[in-house]
Symmetry: C2
Subunit: 491 residues, 2 copies
């Protein structure tokens, strides 16, 4: 049986790590900074992928696949990209091993050195725009609406499961357009896709906004983002969508003939979400007993556990349980029946609580007599006795209620932890003692943002898209400001 988790108040970061490992989501591997995503965790990621992929296709995108490796020289082609992008990358220098002469195993064959080093992709703008040059001649070839599901590598020094790992899984959309307007509309559309996915599917409320210049993606003219608030009062960037202007088209010489026969550079966007979403999911809903899953993302929404003494009772209850399972499945509910006789009911209760299964059904001998089951909700930890008759409909509705409840709860938490401040002292007080989102005036300069970060570790998470204009004074410099921006400490 899983041992009790460290509580959130005791040590939030420890709680998170224990939960991720004990709930069978992921674990560290023998390779520094690289994680193993375990089957239960991967099943949740697959559900995220399936829904996102559906949304991408619905909005006209197709999937493709580009090389894992990028020649080093490609990184030097787009000036702001190479300057701004982190240089912590895995570098391939050789292409062969050989047997060690002393028979101790394999060593790198020094004769097999690459002429030009290859970088394991940290993101694929360069290799993709090098390809698009061949795909685009005329306005007839536009737009290109392509997405890639892939692994990428960024050599992070301090890693945490899902939140920051050297290798992670993600999708990266890369689109090419004939006009600036169309590219901006695409970047905004994909931000909406991400926000809808986070809220409707993950039950994670997000703020849509744009990044300040300091936090913008290297090579982008505008970075749109969605920001979520975690239970420890820190913000987590859950997805970004970039309007890249003509930067990459110019760097890789991608031009098209307009209808009028003129040659113009192509306009670009890129957008991505990653397995980091798994971290957001865990930290938004879970509690000290373990994971809490929104029904839309649960590998199985209901688990049925038999309570029995002896084989005869188990057999009798199993028959009934399988009937119920079939009925629930007919109603579109995913169900696991755990009839293992190698583990006790109490062990199973803890296990499925830890794994965040939204609803648990227990059936004992008395339930068989009375035609009842015990139904336990993971989100509220409440139990009720229900008649077997009409159970499927009740369960379906209950799952919808849980999905909504998780979203409402997270939204309430966020609004309770979003503070408007007007002075520097207030700002420091809230950031240091309360955490959460802080709405404050800012003078719009990179220097001020940098200074605030240095003093408090808080950064501008975004300039919210829906913020009302409001006259104010910068909390640090007092210079005039026309709208509040969103500050927080962030993951």
């Amino acid at each position: 049986m899983a041992k009790k988790l460290t509580s959130r108040t005791e040590d939030y970061s420890k709680w998170y790590n224990e939960l991720v490992v004990n709930a069978d989501l992921a674990e560290a591997s023998g390779v520094r900074g690289c994680m193993v995503i375990k089957p239960y965790g991967y099943a949740i990621w697959e559900k995220m992928q399936a829904e996102l992929d559906r949304k991408f296709k619905e909005t006209g995108h197709e999937n493709a696949y580009f090389p894992l490796f990028i020649p080093k020289s490609y990184f030097s082609k787009e000036a702001s990209h190479v300057d701004g992008f982190a240089k912590e990358c895995a570098v391939v220098t050789h292409y062969r091993l050989k047997n060690a002469e002393d028979g101790s195993g394999v060593v790198v064959d020094e004769n097999a050195k690459l002429e030009e080093e290859l970088i394991v992709r940290p993101t694929s703008e360069t290799i993709i725009w090098d390809t698009y040059r061949k795909w685009v001649q005329s306005y007839r070839d536009l737009p290109i609406l392509v997405n890639q599901w892939a692994n990428v590598v960024r050599w992070e020094m301090r890693t945490r499961l899902f939140l920051r790992t050297a290798e992670f899984l993600w999708q990266e959309g890369h689109t090419a357009h004939a006009t600036k307007m169309e590219a901006i509309a695409e970047a905004e559309q994909m931000l909406d896709v991400y926000a809808d996915f986070a809220e409707d599917f993950m039950a994670v409320p997000v703020v849509k906004g744009v990044k300040s210049a300091n936090e913008r993606f290297a090579g982008a003219l505008e970075t749109y983002c969605i920001e979520a608030l975690m239970q420890d009062g820190k913000a987590l960037q859950a997805g970004t969508s970039h309007f890249l202007g003509q930067n990459f088209a110019k760097a890789f010489d991608v031009k098209f003939a307009t209808k009028e026969g003129k040659q113009e550079h192509v306009w670009a966007t890129s957008w991505g979400v990653s397995t980091r979403l798994m971290g957001a999911l865990v930290m938004t809903h879970s509690d000290d007993n373990g994971l809490v899953l929104p029904p839309n993302l649960a590998p199985y929404q209901v688990v049925i556990v038999p309570i029995y003494r002896g084989e005869d009772q188990l057999e009798e209850i199993s028959l009934k349980a399988k009937e119920i399972k079939k009925e629930l499945q007919k109603a579109g509910v995913t169900v696991k029946f755990d009839g293992r006789d190698t583990h006790k009911p109490g062990w199973k209760f803890n296990e499925y609580e830890l794994k965040g299964v939204p609803l648990r059904i227990a059936i004992g001998p008395r339930d068989l007599e009375n035609g009842t089951v015990e139904l336990a909700r993971r989100d509220t930890l409440t139990k009720e006795l229900m008649l077997m008759e009409g159970l499927a409909t009740y369960v379906s509705n209950k799952l919808e209620e849980i999905q909504q409840n998780l979203f409402d709860k997270a939204t309430k938490y966020r609004s309770e932890n979003t503070h408007q401040v007007n002075t520097w002292d207030e700002f420091v007080d809230v950031i240091e003692n309360k955490g959460g989102f802080v709405e404050a005036h800012w003078d719009g300069t990179s220097e001020t943002e940098e200074e605030i970060k240095n003093r408090t570790k808080a950064t501008i998470r975004c300039i919210p898209l829906n913020a009302k204009s409001e006259e104010g004074a910068c909390i640090l410099t007092g210079a005039p400001s026309k709208q509040r921006v969103l500050f927080a400490k962030a993951y």
Copy 2:
């Protein structure tokens, strides 16, 4: 418009490459040996993935994800694996770039050298068995039935799109069992899954067999395989399933407590298919006009092309075409309507022929009057005039007929190109002048197999599972043999 392909008789290999590129399946990238899988090609791969994934889950498997990188020392742990496995691997030695001092771009930061080099996975047995050690304590933890969809890298010197590329996409199943019997049954089950997929879904007939010792996977006790015959008379290995015995469990110290409390090593299998299947698909069915797709794998099974003069006609025909599209979709058929006014009908006809769309519907103004359409079959290149009424049912049935026809045609080709020979001269004659599969007696030794390969380039593709026992004499040595094995030149 796509230019005409080189014909198969003229230059088979050139035909293949032109087809793969022109039909928008894949193309070479700026990275040596790495391909770009284009959206149309990737859509076919996605259909393969979806069906295989469904079959894996139906047989009780779950997906997971393991690191891209494997520490070099892991490769030295399983002796036969390190000896036998190709050493052409991408080696990561550094983890940081930096700006060149002369401002010319980025260079590798020599201060950021890894203590131990990392190998980009060529296959994942070692890293996965290193992980399974943590997952397995007792018989209760077995079996582990896990699959991974991933990219792998093998530094091939001579590469060909899909057939042999430095990076390719695949799935690799890795299972752990309490008994030898169970592991063998698993390896055999997965071979059947692959064979059924190839035949029922790809319409590619395959021979199931086991590899001779020479051709076995490094570290396996038995390698099961499916072998297909291409149109140029060469064989293509389409999938393998390995019974690994306790080799990896011993190398990585993976033991479990039996019910009786004894400590035993775990039994293993691994099995995989890759984007190589795309090559098998192309080379089994396609013709000099381009790709021919079995309906089960076609991104769209039907394309509708309007034949018109002027905008008014286009509009009128489009209305009808969209009605037909809806009706077909209701019948479960995937349909594309190509109403673009930037390309002529003739161009479109060629394009969809090149792309292998199973059925083409053309609608002109006279069809509107008569309530007819022209229906063209890609596999037989035949056309017929059909009434619009009842079209959906007709098309559904026709697609099934095409799927079956492709399989029958390929099976007929294979049986016409499978030869039984009894003497060395016959063997050499068939291998050199006819090609195809050759059923011949072999004395069972590695030396003989090696000698035959050196003299003719033919290898034993497999020892067929369903071969009848038959007394005979080895074609090379004359030594006694109890069954024929399958020889061919191979990709």
